[in-house]
């Protein structure tokens, strides 16, 4: 059983518990143990973009330091937002000696200095590069034969280039995963269009319009469900369907699930990992079809 340190991030422990449970279960089935990072902190959710701001990187660096202290030089995460923030931060701090020195001096209460050698990969990269889609195909017990799935990447897995896990406009990692799970890939040009992200707090109407457009396009192309990789996207595209319905009474929703939930179902794992109650749009029908 291979092992890799796993960074959950805040949301995966409450509103996105299904993301974590299904991912851990899948990894175990595929021969990888995801060992949770000890004493992890909130990563900060967003990468601070101003050139003079080092303080906001401390959150991420503390986590990198924790990984280093466990004697590892890499770790993985599920939430796209955590991945993007950690990746961009680690790149900046790893490659910039001056910044790293400054941050180490800000964190002088820490026992050790961060040496700048820790890297992060996303769970999807783990699936593609280390486990391999062929191996996953072998382990699929309940192929998602009748399902047409729309892979939704959102923004942070593919942009900017320094953090991208695939080509920003024609990615294939989720499509390949859907194919090996036995499902059909829906043509989905909105796969990398932003869901509205944090505007969901103060500009709900914006997110309503985005959700309507994205889901509308998925439905136009015959998708049965949307696969996502970020708890914020899941919230904006799933839970906010309620708000969309309030504005557009003729709106027809679509089930939204994390790609790890789909994978868990395809691998024939316990349906419990999907936590039906955490989904707004019910996935029970979907699950029944797969079973």
């Amino acid at each position: 059983m291979k092992e890799i340190i796993y960074y959950p991030g805040c949301t995966l422990k409450n509103t996105a518990k299904n993301f974590e449970d299904s991912a851990l279960a899948c990894a175990e089935e595929l021969g990888f143990e995801l060992r949770e990072l000890k004493n992890w902190y909130c990563c900060g959710t967003v990468y601070s973009l101003t050139s003079d701001d080092l303080m906001h990187h401390i959150a991420t660096v503390r986590n990198l330091l924790r990984v280093q202290e466990e004697g590892e030089d890499r770790f993985t995460t599920l939430c796209s937002m955590c991945y993007n923030t950690l990746k961009r931060s680690s790149k900046r701090i790893n490659e910039n000696d001056d910044d790293r020195e400054k941050i180490n001096s800000f964190m002088d209460e820490e026992e050790n200095d961060y040496e700048g050698k820790v890297d992060i990969i996303h769970y999807l990269q783990l699936l593609r590069d280390e486990i391999g889609f062929d191996k996953i195909k072998e382990k699929v017990k309940k192929p998602l034969k009748s399902l047409k799935l729309a892979p939704y990447y959102g923004c942070l897995l593919l942009r900017p280039i320094e953090a991208a896990i695939d080509d920003p406009d024609s990615p294939s990692i989720l499509e390949d995963l859907i194919t090996v799970m036995g499902g059909e890939v829906a043509y989905f040009p909105f796969k990398n269009e932003c869901c509205g992200a944090y505007q969901t707090v103060s500009e709900v109407d914006l997110v309503v319009e985005r959700a309507r457009n994205i889901i509308g396009n998925a439905k136009r192309n015959g998708a049965d469900a949307l696969l996502v990789s970020c708890p914020l996207c899941a919230f904006n595209l799933d839970n906010r369907q309620k708000n969309v319905l309030e504005k557009y009474t003729d709106f027809k929703g679509i089930p939204v699930l994390y790609f790890t939930e789909a994978l868990a179902l395809a691998l024939g794992l316990d349906v419990e990992v999907c936590h039906f109650d955490l989904h707004y749009q019910s996935i029970e029908e979907l699950v029944k079809e797969i079973e």
């Binding site: 909130c42 601070s48 101003t50 050139s51 103060s202």
Partner: protein, 134 residues
Amino acid sequence: MAFQLSKEGVRSDFIKKIEELSAEEISACYHCGKCSAGCPSVDYMDLLPNQIIRAIQFGDIETLRTSNTPWICASCNMCYVRCPRGIDLCSIMEAVRQMMLRENMDHIDIKNYPDKLAGLPPIALVSALRKLSS
């Protein structure tokens, strides 16, 4: 009323600070509009993203202060990835926001959303507060 262009306005401290914070060559923008074409939040903005760049190029601080565009921006990076001249608009928008936030103002106040907060994932709250408040 015509906007008065002057060398003092174009090279004011406010503008120079924005360039410094974003670490981008704002003068390189040739306003092709590809950023604005791909922006997912553009329908809610009073000015297109490239118009904000124009305001910075001309030193039009008034417009930068009053436009809602930097606050509607969701930092999705589509503009950066599309720009033919590789200008990181996300960083520029952040710089404009920070110029105002660092004057001790908040764009959103958590007190205004007590009922809507329930059910919001922590990730949404934290990121919104980090981006839109000081």
